[in-house]
Symmetry: C2
Subunit: 254 residues, 2 copies
Amino acid sequence: MKDKLLVVKIGGSIIENDSILNDFLKSFSKIKGRKILVHGGGKIASSFLKKIGIVPKLIEGRRITDKNTLDVVIMTYAGLLNKKIVSTLQKYNCNSLGLSGSDGNLILAKKRRVEKIDYGFVGDIEKINTNLLDEIINMKICPIICSLSHDKKGQIFNTNADSIASKISIELSKRFDVTLKYCFDKPGLLSNNNLINSINTSDYKNLIEKNIIKDGMIPKIDNCFYALKNGVNEIFIGNHNIIKSIKNCTTLTL
Amino acid sequence: MKDKLLVVKIGGSIIENDSILNDFLKSFSKIKGRKILVHGGGKIASSFLKKIGIVPKLIEGRRITDKNTLDVVIMTYAGLLNKKIVSTLQKYNCNSLGLSGSDGNLILAKKRRVEKIDYGFVGDIEKINTNLLDEIINMKICPIICSLSHDKKGQIFNTNADSIASKISIELSKRFDVTLKYCFDKPGLLSNNNLINSINTSDYKNLIEKNIIKDGMIPKIDNCFYALKNGVNEIFIGNHNIIKSIKNCTTLTL
């Protein structure tokens, strides 16, 4: 039997609100066993961009990352947020270590091809260095991974945190029994404001047809089912409380 | 006989000029064997502070680190600079991994006591987690350490990079035969614009008396002799070329 591993991805208000982040990290620190945390930091990067007079560019909710934007993204994701998370976890006696995609060659990516839109310095993941994560986990240290990748040619890329969490979970499911939890601002997937407790691939198809699951949620959920089909044991979507209890959230099954 | 370890500290124009930094990192990547790089990033933090309308506060050349300044320091040191260094080294096939003082509990510090001047969020080093560095070096990965420490109570501190390099060298000299190289803007210590090739503690005393070594260089050199007295094998001070050759630099001996 494989050892258990928990992968948690946080986004939205959890990382934008100091008090919620602190509560979340306190709970996260108490989880026994192997665990990995993945984070982005979108809105905080946007607020810094505004401070230095750069207007954030988003098309269909996705950031266009030019050179100046990339610098601010690196500064907020790998700098401010990642170190805030790590130092807070150290306070709660959870030994953690921050990583970006270039650290230890963790996330190799290539620049997204320009089709209709040029997203700029945005990377699509090619390879995860699972050996590095394995070694760090074996040292009883929790990896805190920010959403940056690199091309091993000196270029850093802004990279979707959901995709990083999913790809890492898939790769590590060869060695571990992986549970993946996506924490965002809502209690889970909603249908007419009611929580959907459980969803499988055929429910998912129906909900897309009924236009209940739409827009940005579709690539998110596609990512999840892809991960379930490729070795990840279980996936839950909900707010930051799902690291304490999975009673009120959405469970994904095939 | 102990294994050899090289500790290099970079500052000044090496980290402020992209072209010099790139050349330095290319040379650094070619050095065989165990190595650690320590960096600060002072002026780059100052230029970002100005961009967001904060006037950098320095007293006798030392930064006063208030809350907003600390955020920018974390963003530039652990974010922009550290990741630029790591991704560039990856390009040159030197597997490296960025660390701040809170990562893996690497550098424990306490807030500098307020005497004449309140330096704000500045930390004085209490303990280095040498086991972490040992483990990373054993993985054939080069640690890239930025000049931040933490107090394990959730607070990050701005911390002198020279002191970090010196303290790490001393601690690791228990396990390794450590060479420490300080790279800055000058070819070494100068006397009437002539390079001082070698300096021992009694030369040092004389040069202070003659006012040839003064101001900010005194704590720097004090740090060096302290390191030599506490186990570090050899110390060189010079510009970025001293990682290629130690012909033109200052060698410190007891």
